[in-house]
Symmetry: D2
Subunit: 486 residues, 4 copies
């Protein structure tokens, strides 16, 4: 049987790519190839950009309330096809189906918040800025945007920008990750039904060259990117070179501070979920914990026990806690860091090596890892691993923990486990990361709040989601008005 070849969705129609290169989409549980994805050439990216530019002319004239309603229609369609999308997502990505559903939930929340555009995209105004002269900031859509998406949340991350763009009257081109392109392909089938005029939303599959074409297209005004820091740096510079608005969400290395006054049972449970859910492939996952005082020894058995209860396997099967990692490259990366960690002197409290789901021995399996005796200087304490690996560092005090957080080049998230109001306040005041959890292992901002890190975890100023998204996708034109007496 021949493999399905994914199509691009341009100007309201599914079109076959003329790509000469294609990628394979795998099921990480089995290693089997599910589909082929075109690495679309620049002219196809440009065709989408031109279609979007054309669509913008009428889309921007569509009242915000009407635009919001098409979005809410899309929400209904996604809800109606939720299980089906979740299965697709699990099959191409590896995360368990429940995680796929939760991810879809986040996508839906972004649709709901974006549908508030009629209230949220208002401009502001003042009478008599000078006698008889009024001034207005009127808020207008900008034009065409593109989103460049990573593999770890195939359904959710495109929705950090997509619903806001269209609610604000802009058009968008989505480039899904070539590792997991089937989820957005499925969602675009629903987009097709929802009632968007042709060209408003477009899906172009592809890789780096496709992304470059989008960043360079004069028809496109802005870029939303989520991915690694090295690629993010290139995207930020390249988009700027082409004069575009740009927001870049990049890498992370998130620490959790465990204070002696914390509830250790609940904290351990929370840490495990943060570090290992989605097979550790979350930009907000805990990379390590900084255990103050005796919490280091006290939490170890709790972590071991908690992890021991987690079953690895096919995310479509019930009872499974962790699926495989998404790609062989990701697995190799984890294994590389495990080897480095051992070589640099860290010890494995929990050793995930050789772990496999017995029924699917060809899957991209990675077990749970807990490194102990980690020190801040070790490579595994500094670089982003992006897999189910947790590092434990002993610290003497809150201050020492804070120093480690400050020393990191990343600033995506940090968490603290404590029962003390004073400690929590100092943490909020001092941690300098974009997303801070107080007894929250994955401090993922809800859709009505914006989302971004600091330092090398984010480049730009306006964040994804929430109020910032309405700002990123609009131009606030100043009008100064005076009327001469006739």
């Amino acid at each position: 049987m021949s493999l399905p070849v994914l199509k691009n969705y341009i100007d309201g129609a599914w079109v076959e790519s003329k790509a000469r290169e294609f990628g394979d989409v795998h099921n990480p549980v089995t290693g089997e190839t599910l589909a082929r994805v075109p690495l679309s050439p620049p002219d196809e990216a440009e065709a989408a950009a031109q279609a979007a530019r054309e669509a913008f002319k009428t889309w921007r004239r569509t009242p915000p309330l009407k635009r919001a309603r098409i979005l809410l229609k899309l929400k209904e369609l996604i809800l109606a096809h939720q299980e089906e999308i979740a299965v697709t997502l699990t099959r191409e990505h590896g995360k368990i189906k429940n995680e796929a559903h939760m991810e879809l939930q986040r996508a839906i929340e972004n649709i709901e918040v974006a549908s508030g555009a009629p209230s949220m995209m208002m401009g502001h105004n003042l009478e008599d800025v000078s006698e008889g002269i009024d001034e207005y900031a009127i808020r207008q859509p900008v034009g065409v945007y593109a989103s460049l998406n990573p593999f770890n949340f195939p359904a959710m991350i495109p929705f950090w920008s997509l619903p806001y763009a269209v609610a604000c009257g802009d058009c968008q081109i989505v480039k899904a990750s070539p590792l997991v392109p089937m989820t957005m392909t499925k969602i675009f089938e629903l987009i097709h039904q929802a009632g968007f005029p042709k060209g408003v939303l477009n899906l172009v599959h592809g890789g780096a060259a496709t992304a470059q074409a989008l960043m360079a297209s004069p028809a496109i005004q802005g870029i939303s990117f989520v991915g690694s820091t090295p690629v993010g740096r290139i995207v930020y510079e390249t988009s700027a070179k082409h004069g575009k608005r740009v927001q870049v969400q990049a890498g992370a290395k998130n620490w959790g501070v465990v204070m002696p006054d914390a509830s250790l049972e609940k904290s351990a449970e929370n840490i495990i979920a943060s570090a290992y859910d989605c097979t550790g492939q979350r930009c907000l996952a805990l990379a390590g914990i900084l255990c103050v005082g005796d919490t280091y020894e006290r939490i170890k058995p709790l972590l071991k026990e908690g992890i021991a209860r987690r079953k690895i396997g096919d995310g479509l099967e019930p009872g499974v806690a962790m699926g495989p990692i998404t790609s062989p490259e990701a697995r190799a990366r984890v294994e590389k860091y495990v080897a480095i960690g051992l070589k640099e002197g860290a010890k494995l409290l929990v050793d995930g090596r050789g772990v496999k789901a017995p029924e699917h021995r060809d899957g991209y399996w990675v077990g749970h890892y807990v490194f102990e005796d980690v020190t801040p200087e070790m490579t595994i304490a500094k670089e982003e691993i992006f897999g189910p690996v947790l590092c434990m560092i002993r610290v003497k005090s809150f201050d020492e923990a804070l120093e480690i957080i400050h020393a990191s080049p990343f600033g995506n998230a940090a968490n603290i486990y404590t029962s003390s109001g004073a400690t929590a306040r100092r943490f909020k005041y001092e941690a300098r990361c974009g997303n801070l959890g107080i007894n929250i292992g994955v401090p993922a901002p809800m859709a009505m709040f914006h989302f971004a890190g600091t330092k090398q975890s984010f480049f730009g100023d306006l964040h994804a989601q929430g109020r910032d998204a309405f700002k990123f996708f609009t131009e606030e034109t100043i009008v100064i008005e005076r009327w001469f007496d006739r």
Copy 2:
């Protein structure tokens, strides 16, 4: 008598630069040299950045209300020394003293708006984002910023960012234009008195290398630039390359549409003020007018008469309407474009060639120019001249005027002269420039509104001034908070 050599102001003290290169500051009325300005080497820029980084540690802990009060103290000091600063400004820049005062007025307005930081920099929050979990966006200062300033508004433009930065708890390094560095030097004397802790505000004189050092410094988190589009493009890309927040205000080519239903007398007066005040060196100045129907012929005599009444001379003397242009290079640039205009077939309705103020024959004089018979394809209709040159283009209709505005690579401002509500609305809806005037020749946003162009007139997303400035100078950290029962 030896020339004064300007000093840098770093970490609360005036320090002599070790620069090996210096610039000359001229009085454009006489051509005489007023002072020498160091083109500070990179290490001096970095010293300022380090001082600011150090100062940030305590400045960010200073309550917003206290920070605002120091700003209001600075306002009082500027008011008390207003005449003195205006004279300095006129002497080094050439614009008339009244224009210098108006510019200072705008600086003061920005101080006033920025002093509203305790109200304007608030974060937002929601209870129960999930049961028992609260979420906050807490708004915190970011760190150190630098502003890179042009020569046309020596006092005003640094205040598009300076007061907001310090009100929000950030520290700043100001690089004044080496053509007109004396004005900010004088203002920094007042900053020194106002009560800012040392290191919070720093002044580093210099040129491109100094700017490059600031853009590259890891101690600096953001860049505000105002200048030409070619340089602006470099600043945008370079700042992005270094991972910084950046806002770039760049070049302009602003058109005014004259509708048959406009009050032509008042419009002509307004056009003249827009085109020629500040010797045309304003990013919001009218570069040309698009005369619909018979307004072309009807407005010509009004422009001629209005211009004939304007006296050229030393801006410190009463009765003078227009001073010299700021530099010989600027004059040469104007003369070059006049020659091109004539060569390409435009005619001079008003010819400024050879005009000089009789008492100061060595000044950098440029007369008033009105080109007629200009067509959209001519060089003078497309490129930024930045001097007292107005181009007249005949158009048949509002639609034709709009096409010319749309065709421009710039989008800083556009104006319309009309008495019709319908026409004004279409203009607001369609013009796609950042600042739109309805019967307002210079649609300069008041300080409580933000300020930026579109297209190649602005790179970035958050604008200068107003609400956007409070956002550019703060980080909105997300805190998600849950407390375990004990």
Copy 3:
């Protein structure tokens, strides 16, 4: 066949009222009685209040996002039953079915805007109001509210408050008008299905005594009223006497100014729709026009012709432009004013006396009326008629028109027909009514904007709909937080 007797909906169940008095619900097309409505005694109002108070305890703990989703579910249910509700509405009220649909549309828009509560009901906060002290305004639901509704928009007006109350976490008791109680009864059947916990929304039928009981109940914190000015005054004072939050939308007398530069054809069409749609029973309907200069004579034939094309009849039948008035009392009121108008010297340009739909001779028919030669002193120019009567007044100038608007005790709305930006600006600046139309006969604020008049058309400060509604239905609790070092 016995008449249906409407039930109250209290604490999640339909309950028979023990009322001793009942009202009759008529079909104004035929005069037949459709149902009997209980005038519920005070203890039933109190039972609803108690149920709501109890429900509040858990409803306020339900995350805003979940509350919003139940609202959006209600929207889907209303959409699915739209035709059915519209037919009910037309049958009990008399307005044509298309008007009923448009009214439902407005109700839905309010649901959509209210579902933005997670974004719109956020509090605000500031770090370091004093060193180490943070301050928050956290936004919390208040408790229980009641809405007292008029007969003219049976479906729409309850939705000016209902969706905001529940989105914000409050509970509500709705008292529908006893003239038109079937529409909300039908909608409450959908509310019952939508998933609201019991007690969150309650429907209590009744009259003045029921309203008094709600205003006096200590279990209720706020009152939203829409109705006439005399009753509104009582409601405002009574609610205040009981210490409640209160917003009172009251009577109106809305003028339209017709300027010589207006497009008279389009204006006339717009005036006719405003004055006669919904049989003139709209608080934003034009009560009269102030014709400047020769527009008086010029517009007369346009009005006559336009009105001549409007067919009167049963609103369920196609081609009908105007249904009957809602009650015999309303008809008598119109007839009384027509008589007064004639007696005081006004003349009928269009005479609606004796008009009847031939097929339904027992209906409460009122024809179209246009009074000419009206002067500002006449009773018909001063008092609210609330029927399809338009008064024409000749004025010399815009200023004279403004004086008449200013002299009115009402300030609900005013409109101007003009093409001049200058005139429109003066009108906006000077008219001092709550809702101003520029070439808009019924300036009804969209749901994302608030809605209220001025002068005796509104009592209170926070308006219905939009941002104000989120404020009326929340308490912004101040928290000032400091942590002592341990």
Copy 4:
């Protein structure tokens, strides 16, 4: 020597009242009469209202920025005369001079925040609410307001409304408390110098009849009242009866919860300051503490020792911690409650009876009181005493403390002393008072936040200060705009 008789300030001039009744202003330290204050008759209140109405016509046309500058000028004048005002305030009120200065500081903060009106009073707008139709909420001043002020903060409380009213373009009449009218008289001397046009701000001395006249005047649109709950209820109802906007800040009974995990030393210090500063005459003062578990016994010695260090005397003398109470009536009220407390079975841990400052034996002295063994049913635990009396109640748990807070008819403030984040969160979520302190004895909102209680501590919806004040003092007029093609 004859006593000075205070004048009213109406329409820009000091005018002698024709009052037939006068009050005496005492120095509570000595009992001597300082001045006589007219209880102005209704026609003088009306004269002020008329002057304000007239002044409004041009004041509302003055650009917000200009209005703000006059306010900032007033701030400078108050700063320059701060010591002088503080002495006057201490002399007529009794509080110590340092407290007078702190109060002035709060007045100044409100001026500063109000001067942000150009940013804070902006309206909002949306393009294309329907195709081609734009909608604006333009924010306009309302007209004339009156403030009715209590005796406890003669300088601060009028500034909860005054600066916002004038910054927003409204005019105001201030009625100072007849017990302490000299402070505002002095401040109005500065208002006279600051540059307000005549009639914009007016001062009318008087009592209840004067207040009634203001509430009844048709020239006045809104009332701000601060005082007791019984009077507040009358003001709320009366103002509503006259159709006015109204905000009523009323009585209080504020509890502090002391948790076992609190820092008791710091808490005790904070409790003492809250309960006794300003001689307990603060609406945010602690009326009592709810001691959980053993904190009851542990805090007693700390309170006794802390109070023992406080010297009573003339607030103008150094080293004095507490001045006299303001009036003999206030003293009698305290003494009455002390007697009731003893009679109902409470015991005095600290007994203030018979305490006098030795040098001023005729002063209105009241000592420090701490009642122990208080139960929630006692009169002293339920009614507002408004003097330096602290009640101690033993409670078993946080829940029991919360029940007592909930049972109070007042909801002005509540505080908790704890180090636990979880307890603080529950407190914020459950306490249902307007102003909550976490380890803050007097949770007085800073000027950029609004200020009001709940339950019988506040009637109305828009609070004093901050964002709410800008809303209370403006009308947000809706404009819906469409232009017909010509």
